[in-house]
């Protein structure tokens, strides 16, 4: 188990290094001059002049070759220094620390809503296979996966905030503010969980050991709890891990629409301003969250499925 853990942690660091390197060079090869973008984002068109551009380039050492800037960034990152934001002129880590709790709060709420709805719905669908409840659940999953989250967000704002005036339009001034962004974000991840839960349950229900459980004279409820759910859950854990990625990625759009002050909003602002240190910091946070959750998922998987120990995957 320890060897497996070390192997997985090494992979996590490998992924983080690849993500940061790709992001760094992608930002530099995208069209547009960094100094111009910074000046434009701070002072608009008037701030952009030859003199100011040169000044910014000198101040931020942008005239040096990209690979030198990259090596400096990597070295500093290992020391825990992710640089200073070009736009906000504040340490990247400070800005992220300020915004990250909001993203986590939104992400966890959306995740919990999604799990609380999807897993029971998937179970009900499987237990009522090809009956009306199953068909309704299929329609629901089709709808939630077909509509883009930004469209759902706009509809929610128009209906619940502007027409019914039940919830605030944006910001995070009151506890109610989290409801709309969290539901919007959760809807996007419900479909795969519902479908996977249903398929996994149906697959397990057709296994020989379920026939054997019935032959033992066990009650149907006992069969569902002890045998069906227990065996249907491991694939769901994998899907849940992957859906965390959806939450982190989806939060970028949702936070912007609902003016939720999280890392997503920070990342969009940083991209607009070509604020490389901030982009790097935000992407690393998202990538770390994703790889860490998936590491946890793999560990949980190895713990609950004894077969992994013998197949060599859990070693």
């Amino acid at each position: 188990m320890l060897g497996y853990l070390i192997k997985r942690i090494v992979i996590v660091f490998g992924v983080l290094w690849m993500v940061s390197t790709l992001t760094y060079f992608t930002v530099h090869v995208t069209p547009g001059d960094t100094a111009t973008a910074i000046l434009y984002s701070i002072g608009g068109e008037n701030a952009v002049s030859e003199k100011n551009i040169e000044h910014v380039r000198d101040k931020l050492d942008l005239n040096r070759p990209v690979y030198l800037q990259y090596f400096e960034w990597v070295t500093n990152s290992f020391k825990g220094n992710f640089g200073t934001s070009y736009k906000y002129n504040k340490p990247v880590l400070y800005m992220i620390k300020l915004r990250l709790p909001n993203t986590i709060k939104l992400g966890i709420t959306a995740f919990l809503i999604s799990v609380a709805v999807s897993i029971p719905l998937g179970i009900i669908s499987a237990l009522n296979h090809n009956r009306i409840v199953d068909h309704l659940s299929r329609i629901f999953t089709l709808l939630t996966s077909s509509f883009p989250s930004f469209w759902i967000a706009i509809i929610f704002i128009i209906f619940f905030a502007l027409k019914l005036k039940l919830l605030p339009v944006s910001g995070m001034d009151s506890p109610k503010s989290i409801v709309l962004p969290a539901i919007t974000l959760s809807l996007g991840m419900m479909a795969p969980i519902i479908r996977m839960m249903r398929t996994s349950m149906l697959d397990v229900m057709g296994q020989d050991y379920i026939w054997v459980s019935r032959a033992k004279g066990l009650k149907e409820s006992a069969i569902i709890w002890r045998h069906v759910l227990r065996n249907a859950i491991p694939p769901i854990i994998t899907v849940l891990g992957l859906q965390i990625g959806h939450i982190l990625g989806g939060a970028v759009i949702i936070e912007n629409i609902f003016s939720w002050p999280g890392v997503g909003g920070l990342l969009i602002d940083a991209i607009n301003a070509k604020d490389t240190p901030m982009i790097e910091g935000c992407v690393l946070v998202v990538a770390f969250g994703y790889t860490f959750i998936n590491l946890v998922v793999d560990i949980i998987y190895a713990c609950i499925d004894p077969r992994l120990k013998y197949s060599g995957e859990g070693k």
Partner: protein, 317 residues
């Protein structure tokens, strides 16, 4: 002797879309108390469907006709809630395929004990006593490391060991009737002998009646009092083990016995017909070497013999 199980004209069909596929046709047999009846026949002939029909464990699209009486009570169409108490306690099953019949995420000891614990300690056994009695069964079945095996997962055991865990599950509740489905199918030659001995001991010591479903004629010979030969969803011959094996009456039984390695390995020609496209007359007619003109036109009727029957135009009393 008194009949424990009476199956009369059992018909099972499956609804596939709008089409009905008839699998079992007029299957009739009985099992006396403490008697072992083996059902032999090639793979896919309906042996396991017969076992599942008795246990009320056929898929939802199955239709069952005829009558199944257990201890004089007609259990053919009784409600699931009424029948459930019979399962495991009165009629237990030892399924085929040890590799897929055990829950991969549950320890084997727990899988055996839940046969009893789920019935609210009906046998007055507390957890510790129950564990002891299960370990005792493990020991009788010659399982190694009996104390540790209780907490092992199926993936930690060999196919033969898992097969014996399945047998433990079948006998832990001391049922009156045991439906054993292909117990020697997934195990190697060395273990086969041990498993057959387990059932011989069960017959002697526990005096439990068995429906022994197998395609292993040698195993049936060692364990069964009587043998029923099934072909394409019908029982074509039934009788005492020695009579069926030494003096087979139906051409299919003769072919089956001739195909045994110990009898020269003379494999029958042709294949069993598809259930979706059955011959009009005798189902064995296309492969039969003794067919008459009537065989392709009419279905042979049951001719009663001592403790059984034969379905063949050729057979004369």
């Amino acid at each position: 002797m008194e009949n424990l199980l009476e199956v009369k004209n059992l018909n099972v069909s499956f609804l596939m879309g709008k089409r009905k596929i008839h699998i079992l046709k007029d299957v009739s047999f009985n099992i006396e108390k403490n008697e072992v009846l083996a059902v032999i026949g090639e793979t896919g002939c309906g042996k396991s469907v017969t076992g599942s029909a008795i246990l009320h464990l056929l898929p939802e699209n199955a239709e069952v006709g005829g009558s199944i009486k257990y201890n004089g009570i007609d259990i053919t169409n009784i409600h699931e809630n009424e029948f459930r108490p019979y399962r495991g306690t009165e009629i237990a099953a030892v399924p085929q395929s040890p590799s897929t019949s055990l829950d991969p995420l549950m320890k084997v000891g727990k899988q055996v004990s839940e046969c009893v614990t789920d019935k609210k300690y009906k046998y007055g056994e507390h957890k510790k006593q129950l564990k002891e009695s299960i370990i005792n069964i493990f020991s009788k079945l010659k399982l190694p490391r009996i104390n540790e095996i209780y907490d092992d997962y199926p993936c930690e055991l060999s196919g033969g060991m898992n097969q014996r865990i399945l047998i433990s599950m079948g006998i832990v509740t001391k049922p009156k009737l045991l439906i054993v489905d292909e117990p020697t199918k997934a195990i190697d030659w060395a273990l086969r002998k041990e498993v057959i001995e387990v059932f011989q001991d069960l017959k002697k010591e526990r005096r439990c009646a068995m429906l022994f479903i197998t395609h292993d004629i040698a195993a049936a010979k060692c364990v069964a009092d009587r043998i029923a030969v099934m072909y394409c969803g019908q029982i074509v011959e039934i009788g005492y083990t020695n009579d069926v094996l030494n003096n087979p009456k139906h051409p299919y039984t003769k072919g089956l016995i001739a195909s045994m390695p110990s009898r020269g390995f003379h494999v029958m020609e042709g294949y069993m017909p598809s259930f979706a496209d059955l011959p009009i007359g005798c189902r064995f007619e296309p492969r039969c070497s003794e067919k008459t003109d009537n065989c392709s036109k009419y279905e042979p009727q049951m001719i009663n013999i001592k403790n059984g029957y034969v379905k063949c135009f050729r057979f004369k009393l």
